[in-house]
């Protein structure tokens, strides 16, 4: 039996011992690898140095690589992003940490008007290989501005790439892919999953490309698309549904812009039913894009209209109400019933 080159590469990867670590640690080791491999990689952010970040994602990196590569910056997000733009002009690959989702907005102008546009503006001459790390989402009982899901703003911004990870292996691989990418990347980290543990192979060759979605649970009746923190919830829902005899296919989107519609379309053409879930408010969220694009591309395959299970269209609520905001297993199952044509919460609800 002959071994192909690709298979050999695969084997080499798998020979690499895997380690069990948390999702936060997986990002930490990813950053560490990137810092070690390319001296043009620098980290900027608030409290990322001695403190190691409020989530300890950069723990130990300043000690290892020095304060001029892992830089605590003054407290100003526009300043962080704008400085990163200048560093990118000079050939650096800056990785910016935004401390919490809700603090990205002071940097919005620099991201949308500069980072996203400079490559286009300069006819492809200047590159902006900037990675912006954003811990996002709720479920940690936090005060205001600490639980938001602003990904759709960036997905709607031409020139940016937006990705999100749901497990330690992807966290490690994808942060490194993001840093390696010559385009600017918004990297959304599911903060309430930082402490989830998993096996991590630190060899990134042979891993799924950054732009690809992944079928994490195969199934036949309903496609459930999720990303970031809700992938685990969707997987739990698939398990619960299978007890009821419904076969749910769960897709981890991974890349939010662009979206891997090839994988999504293939799934929906098989199942004929689509549920999309995200924590972000619904109106104008990514669920709308997925529903619209899938409908456009696979209308004749759909047994039912796509259903979205999302956060509500209110500002993120106080912690004591967040269970009534974040989609959970039950709300996803209710939507599965809906697309299956089973009795559900809206069966008797007047439209």
């Amino acid at each position: 039996m002959t071994t192909t080159v690709a298979a050999r590469a695969e084997r080499t990867d798998t020979q690499q011992a895997t380690t069990t670590m948390t999702l936060a640690k997986a990002i930490n080791t990813g950053l560490r690898s990137s810092l070690a491999q390319n001296e043009k990689v620098v980290l900027l952010g608030e409290d990322i140095g001695r403190l190691g970040g409020v989530f300890r994602v950069t723990d130990g990196l300043q000690r290892e690589f020095g304060a001029d590569r892992v830089m605590d910056t003054p407290l100003a997000e526009a300043g962080i992003i704008g400085t990163a733009v200048g560093l990118a002009f000079r050939g650096y690959r800056p990785v910016c940490e935004i401390q919490f989702d809700g603090f990205i907005y002071p940097g919005f102008d620099q991201i949308v008007a500069q980072v996203a546009k400079l490559h286009y503006r300069t006819g492809g001459i200047v590159r902006m290989p900037i990675t912006i790390r954003v811990p996002f989402g709720g479920g940690i009982g936090a005060v205001e501005h600490h639980s938001e899901s602003p990904e759709a703003y960036f997905a709607h911004t031409s020139g940016l790439r937006v990705i999100s990870c749901s497990n330690p292996q992807d966290a490690h691989t994808m942060i490194r892919q993001a840093i390696d990418c010559d385009d600017p990347v918004l990297f959304f980290e599911p903060k309430r999953r930082y402490w989830v543990k998993g096996e991590v192979d630190q060899n990134i060759t042979g891993q799924t490309p950054m732009e690809s979605a992944r079928v994490v649970v195969p199934g036949n009746d309903v496609t459930v698309v999720a990303y970031g923190p809700l992938v685990m919830t969707a997987m739990d829902a698939a398990t619960a549904a299978s007890d009821d005899g419904v076969s749910v296919e769960v897709i981890d989107l991974r890349s939010l812009s662009p979206i891997d519609f090839a994988t999504l379309t293939a799934s929906v053409r098989k199942t004929g039913r689509l549920v999309i879930t995200h924590e972000a408010q619904q109106f104008g969220g990514l669920g709308a894009e997925i529903a619209a694009s899938i409908t456009e591309r696979s209308f004749e395959y759909l047994e039912a209209p796509p259903v979205r299970v999302t956060g509500f269209d209110v500002p993120y609520p106080p912690a004591k109400l967040e269970e009534h905001f974040i989609p959970d297993l039950d709300r996803i199952l209710d939507a599965v019933d809906r697309v299956m044509g089973n009795r559900n919460s809206l069966t008797d609800w007047g439209n």
């Binding site: 409020v54 100003a76 809700g102 509500f312 500002p315 609800w349």
Partner: protein
Amino acid sequence: MFSEIDTARSVDTTEFRDRITPPDSIDQPMRSGEIIQLLTPDGQRRKNSQFDPWLRDITGDVLADLYEDHVVARRIDTEATALQRQGELGLWPPLIGQEAAQIGSARALRDDDFVFSSYRENAVAYCRGVDLTDMIRVWRGNAHSGWDPYAIGMAPPTVIIGAQTLHATGYALGCKRDGIDSVAIAYFGDGATSQGDVNEAMVFAASFQAPVVFFCQNNHWAISEPVGLQARRPIADRAPGFGIPSLRVDGNDVLAVMAATRIALDRARSGGGPTFIEAVTYRMGPHTTSDDPTRYRDRAELDEWAAKDPIIRLEALLKNIGVFTDELRESVAAKADQVARDVRAGCLSLDPPEPLTVFDHAYSTPNSWLDRQKSQYAAYLDFYSGGAR
């Protein structure tokens, strides 16, 4: 040749009161970096011909009241921290060490003045007369804002660093337009001075000559970042370049803080425009109950500042002037105990809000999209309420 803050000129010692005139004529600069102190760490009263006239009404009784405020504020802090440790609060941002800065300034305000603060100004809220349960509401996760801003003249805490300085400026502009002499005061930290918003607030306030006081508590830290990372000059030096006079006071000295705030308020009320105050103090506790300051700062620094504690020095002053009686000690202790009990009871009395209130007040008028969503979620809750699933 370079335009620089004057670091050489000595302090003007003429009576200040006479010099309250539009900023352009304030031509006697304070020496850069100098910190005004009226009360030494060991409770000695230092004379200051410019500040003292602003404190003529501060009798022993008033000092005793201020002392009570300090003790109560610290007690609230301790109790809230305990409640957080016990899982009753989600988070608490201690103000321990900053009592004088907050109380001295807040007690200088009139009821019709308006406060725009960050998350740490719970002693300010206390001085504004906030209900103790309301104070705790945000930190238990029951609400984003615990109190009625108009009832106590204080906006809800602003978590986005520095954003509230612009709100204070706008509010002050409104007061000016309304022809009243109320003043807006913005509280913010040393870290906040790096934010664009704070600098824009200074630009707008100066341009419109808004009656606003920028009150910066330089507590030396922005989470793990020392103030030196934000500013290589004393923070008070920043404002003059914007055309805003500034004062730098010992923030652990309630008298210096109060006098400075009164001076700034008086300037604002009399059409003098904005003033910037830097209260030099220290965050004795962690950034919040989630923080572990041992990762980034030394015990020695803490000890140094413990010796400058605002309560110790106020107590010493009271002793020096013979006001610190057993009776006072006991009444203050009793008050603090009572407040602590009220905080705890208030906290425990707060049940989670009703599920459907998650939709309330996103809009003040009907919104077809959201109303439909609420109706669907109500149907959802109904559908499963019988344990249908």
